[in-house]
């Protein structure tokens, strides 16, 4: 009973402090809002309007037709026509175009005889996404209207797009963003939570009182769980409003997965808080967690494509497991229990981090 009174005292105090700290309060709402709008609109793997230039040495009816066809695809935006392939190379080198199109002077003959390539695409391959786009462009049919269709080669492979038929990136980004935002804010909030008391001298007071370490730790975690849930609701509401991202699975499953994930991140933050000496160090440590989380968790790049060592690192990060859970539930309508391993991983992570934090925190000054 006394434990509960003490824990509630810590919680109440945290809430009071939060409500007075305008900057933190702003971060709770501001970070999700800004990141969602920024990433939701900016991260777009469905590429359009790549700058391009072309050289048309044939300058025939067919070649002009081809250039206008390829421009009409909207994938590229033809900026200019140049006189030679060398000039095309120069533009590519200068970075002013991403794709160059070269049509040789015997373009018509090549199209008719179909024995050699009729079009050459010069691509800035440094960005794999652009290279992929160029490969799609190469399947564009090139022939005279009157020309007999070559014996139709039936495409033996068919692509069927599940869950995201309109190929919108936001559908993938928004649920992933929930995890990224929660990682950033939750770890950061609790990482500074104990160090701040240390820096302001409040800890000297606290350790002289009968408050026990688990009471202090749990009392510090609970207020932020509520804040995490507020952010969760905020991101999904905005995601639905701006990007029409649906929640296909059960909302209860979303809540359950998020709760465990939030608790795991808060525990991690507390652990950081017991390891560092100043708020500045705490922030650095939080970013040390944050960056690999973004890059390796599958938020940015497909998890399966990463080398084994990166995958192993990613398996330790809570965001990796949460990404699988939340994308499964929100986008595929999966049942949370079909992914119980991920839930378990998050739970174990939380327990380990919290236990370490409690063990690390000493109510003594030495």
């Amino acid at each position: 009973m006394k434990s509960f009174i003490r824990m509630f005292a810590i919680m109440k105090k945290e809430f009071l402090q939060l409500s007075r700290d305008r900057l933190t309060f702003g971060m709770i709402v501001g970070i999700p809002l800004m990141q969602l709008l920024l990433f939701g609109y900016a991260i777009n793997t469905d590429v359009r309007n790549l700058s391009a230039a072309y050289v048309d040495e044939a300058d025939t009816h067919l070649s002009r037709q081809f250039v206008s066809d390829i421009g009409a695809s909207q994938v590229i935006n033809i900026r200019q026509r140049v006189a030679s392939v060398q000039q095309l190379r120069q533009l590519l080198d200068a970075g002013s175009i991403s794709i160059g199109i070269a049509l040789p002077d015997d373009f018509d003959r090549r199209v008719i005889e179909r024995d050699r390539q009729a079009v050459q695409l010069l691509v800035d391959g440094t960005d794999p996404i652009i290279l992929g786009v160029a490969q799609q462009l190469s399947s564009l049919p090139v022939r005279f209207d009157t020309q007999a269709t070559p014996p139709s080669s039936v495409n033996l492979m068919e692509v069927r797009n599940f869950y995201n038929p309109e190929r919108r990136s936001a559908v993938n980004i928004v649920p992933g963003l929930v995890g990224v935002i929660l990682t950033m804010t939750m770890v950061l909030f609790t990482a500074v939570a104990i160090v701040r008391e240390k820096e302001r001298g409040n800890l000297e007071l606290l350790i002289n009182t009968p408050v026990k370490t688990p009471e202090l730790m749990l009392g510090k975690i609970f207020p932020y769980i509520i804040i995490g849930l507020i952010q969760l609701v905020l991101v999904f509401s905005l995601g639905w409003y701006f990007f029409k991202v649906p929640i296909r699975g059960s909302q209860l499953d979303v809540l359950a997965a998020s709760l465990v994930f939030i608790a795991a991140n808060l525990s991690l933050g507390l652990l950081i808080s017991t390891l560092v000496q100043t708020q500045f160090q705490a922030m650095q440590a939080a970013f040390f967690i944050f960056l690999p989380s973004i890059l390796l968790s599958g938020f940015m790049f497909p998890f399966d494509g990463m080398p084994a060592i990166a995958q192993n690192i990613a398996e330790v990060l809570p965001l990796t497991h949460f990404n699988r859970l939340i994308r499964g539930i929100v986008l595929r309508g999966a049942d949370i229990m079909s992914m119980w391993e991920e839930l378990l991983a998050l739970g174990v992570f939380m327990l380990v981090a919290l236990t370490l934090a409690i063990a690390r925190f000493s109510k003594r000054l030495d």
């Binding site: 009174i5 810590i10 009071l16 000297e204 002289n208 009968p210």
Partner: protein, 264 residues
């Protein structure tokens, strides 16, 4: 260390019969500790701070209300109830800190250099409050480097580099040292000091404005004469008087003799 915050490097400490290492949590419910630096929450109001502390000590609901009202009244903080602790003046902060430390009515109160940041008037008021507390039966342990504060205590101990070098009541301590204290009033105290510094029998000379306080071991016979003649030899005009040792002399005497390996 006595509050159980530091682990003793050797030995065992007991406070009110409780081992500071093994029973530090139980001990914390019984003792109060006022930190040197203001350690309450600056972004909470006076009332909220006291409320928080009362909940941390898990006082009953009615007890909390009664104690907080009492303390606000006793420590004259009634007008500041809704003020944030960070905006209080030095004296108010100090009263609030003391109120928080005594909220759970501890039997022993530890104060770590409590008056290092307040003006003399506040210091005086603060000590008055402490005496009132002591009258109600609370034992108060104060650490300080102000000798005039130490003088107000019922009994005191002098620590030098972590070793207790003397203890007793202020009067006992003054009588207990093995030095005579002389006061030299000179027109040119600097020259007087320089001339006395050559005299090997003198243990220490402290300048206080135009006066010099001179410590000489009791074994030295006719110390008054010795000082007078030393001054005369260097042609310094001065009056010499034997005076009663104050705590500052005691402090100098006991720490000095420890360094020289002599008994105080």
């Amino acid at each position: 260390m006595l509050c159980g915050l530091l682990t003793p490097s050797a030995g065992v400490a007991t406070v009110m019969g409780m081992d500071t290492r093994k029973e530090s949590e139980a001990l914390k419910q019984q003792i109060g500790y006022m930190t040197q630096r203001f350690s309450l929450y600056e972004d909470l109001t006076v009332k909220e701070n006291l409320q928080f502390i009362s909940e941390i000590y898990a006082l009953s609901r009615t007890r909390r209300r009664i104690r907080i009202e009492q303390l606000l009244e006793n420590f004259n903080l009634g007008k500041q109830v809704k003020q944030r602790a960070g905006t209080l003046s030095g004296g108010q902060k100090q009263r609030l800190a003391l109120a928080a430390a005594t909220l759970h009515e501890p039997k022993i109160l530890f104060l770590d250099e409590p008056t290092s940041a307040v003006d003399p008037q506040n210091r005086r008021d603060f000590w008055e409050t402490l005496f009132e507390l002591a009258d109600t039966g609370t034992t108060i342990l104060v650490s300080t480097h102000y000798m005039d504060e130490a003088e107000r205590c019922h009994s005191l101990a002098i620590l030098d580099q972590g070793v207790k070098v003397a203890d007793g009541s202020p009067k006992e301590l003054g009588e207990g040292i093995s030095y005579h204290v002389f006061e030299v009033v000179a027109e040119d105290p600097n020259r007087a000091r320089l001339s006395l510094a050559k005299q090997k029998a003198i243990t220490s000379i402290t300048q206080l404005g135009v006066r010099l306080r001179v410590l000489i071991p009791k074994e030295v016979d006719d110390a008054l004469q010795l000082i007078a003649s030393t001054l005369k030899n260097s042609e310094v005009q001065a009056e010499v008087d034997q005076v009663l040792p104050d705590l500052e002399d005691v402090f100098v005497a006991v720490t000095q003799s420890r360094r020289e390996g002599m008994p105080a």
